[in-house]
């Protein structure tokens, strides 16, 4: 296999680009649907949890997991918790928006272009921001929900893993498009240089 193939690949060939567009069109549409569904589902889950949760049971389960009695909590605490959680949604929505725009770029046959590369990088950065805010939020949420119980700070900080395997997986999902964004950007630059020479 040739390692020098990018050269030729990147030279703009409209017919081939159209053929490629036809071949990846269904994946792009599916990806857009999945992005919208995912983001909408996250929002709906947050809102439904807020309105439909049995706060007493929620706190009882939470207290049991912490090994602490959390009775005597106020509804305001739970509302602040859900409101804060809802504030994380824009980070998920940003990821979905970037995925939507990237798919749109591909559907317009702008595949090896700088804008496709930029949208890929944005997916990755938005994803990393989302993972980081979620990690921080989980700790903050612990403090909000146990504010009335005067649980020692060390107990709260050591109560569970601050970072979990799904966080690592989400970070991996974010690093992946960042790496590919670099590849596509270089590809686009080579294509532009080549077009200039020709």
């Amino acid at each position: 296999m040739r390692t020098t193939s990018p050269v030729i690949v990147l030279y703009p060939v409209p017919a081939a680009q159209s053929a490629l567009r036809a071949r990846i069109g269904w994946v792009c549409h599916l990806l857009r649907i999945a992005a919208v569904l995912w983001s909408g589902w996250v929002l709906l889950s947050m809102i439904l949890s807020w309105y439909l949760s049995d706060y007493v049971k929620l706190m009882e389960n939470f207290g049991s997991a912490l090994g602490t009695d959390l009775s005597g909590f106020s509804n305001a605490q739970v509302h602040v918790f859900f409101a804060g959680w809802l504030c994380l949604w824009p980070t998920s929505a940003a990821v979905a928006y970037c995925v939507w725009r990237l798919s749109e770029t591909f559907l317009r046959e702008r595949i090896f272009t700088v804008d496709a590369a930029v949208w890929m990088r944005r997916i990755g950065i938005a994803g990393l921001v989302s993972v980081l805010t979620s990690i921080v939020w989980r700790r903050v949420a612990l403090f909000i929900l146990t504010g009335h119980a005067h649980v020692p700070v060390t107990t709260l900080l050591l109560s569970s893993q601050p970072v979990t395997p799904p966080d690592l997986l989400a970070a991996l999902f974010s690093l992946f498009p960042i790496a590919l964004g670099h590849i596509f950007k270089t590809a686009a630059e080579i294509a532009a240089d080549h077009a200039r020479i020709v």
């Binding site: 296999m1 040739r2 390692t3 020098t4 193939s5 990018p6 050269v7 030729i8 690949v9 990147l10 030279y11 060939v13 081939a16 053929a19 490629l20 071949r23 990846i24 994946v27 792009c28 599916l30 990806l31 999945a34 992005a35 569904l37 995912w38 589902w41 996250v42 889950s45 009882e60 389960n61 049991s64 997991a65 995925v99 591909f106 595949i111 090896f112 395997p165 799904p166 690592l168 997986l169 989400a170 970070a171 991996l172 999902f173 690093l175 992946f176 498009p177 960042i178 790496a179 590919l180 670099h182 590849i183 270089t186 590809a187 630059e189 080579i190 240089d193 080549h194 020479i197 020709v198």
Partner: protein, 198 residues
């Protein structure tokens, strides 16, 4: 200059290829580490939880969540559930292996090549299989852990969401990779065709 001149095309391209390799090298290593870390972490957690399993606490927590009396849960049931979860780690390891190989291919400077495209498609397919297996396994584990209590299947099936937003996020990532695999494959084929003409 002719567009198919080997001298005119290949010479200036080798340099960006090397620059790209240098630019994404650290990212490739990071992604490989994350790819290995994710199933290893899951495996470590699984072994830890299995080793320190507390039958009484699991019975109480699960019983409270299901609103059912689960007294009589046996270690054999717990072990079966852990064994099934262990099987899921094998699917995760398969995804990780494909990611490791893909970024190994990139580190060798083989970027727009058919083998990179094949490894990408394998990541996507292995990922989709892993998500599906995980969705099914979560329900099966619930049936295993409640089998002694003779709960109505509808109670077990309606407990929690069978599919969660994180599953959809994983599906979205898999579709993204499958789409990119098609792009890389077409790019590599175009390169080979062009090389044939040259």
């Amino acid at each position: 200059m002719s567009t198919i001149s080997p001298a005119g095309t290949l010479k200036p391209i080798l340099s960006p290829q090397a620059a790209l390799r240098a630019r994404i090298g650290w990212l490739c290593h990071l992604i490989r580490i994350a790819a290995v870390g994710w199933p290893a972490w899951n495996l470590g957690l699984l072994i830890w939880n299995w080793h320190w399993r507390d039958l009484a606490k699991i019975t109480e927590t699960l019983g409270r969540a299901l609103n059912a009396d689960l007294q009589g849960l046996s270690y054999a049931q717990l072990d079966s559930a852990f064994a099934l979860a262990l099987g899921l780690v094998a699917f995760q390891a398969a995804v990780s292996y494909c990611i490791w190989r893909l970024f190994g291919t990139f580190l060798q400077g083989r970027i727009f090549t058919v083998d990179a495209a094949i490894w990408m498609r394998r990541i996507g397919i292995a990922g989709l299989v892993a998500v599906l297996a995980s969705v099914v396994a979560r329900r099966v584990i619930l049936f295993i852990l409640t089998s002694h209590a003779h709960l109505p299947p509808s109670t077990v099936l309606s407990f929690g969401q069978p599919v969660v937003p994180f599953d959809l996020l994983q599906v979205m990532f898999c579709l993204f990779v499958i789409g990119l695999a098609q792009i890389f494959k077409t790019a590599a084929e175009m390169a080979d065709d062009h090389a044939g003409i040259v």
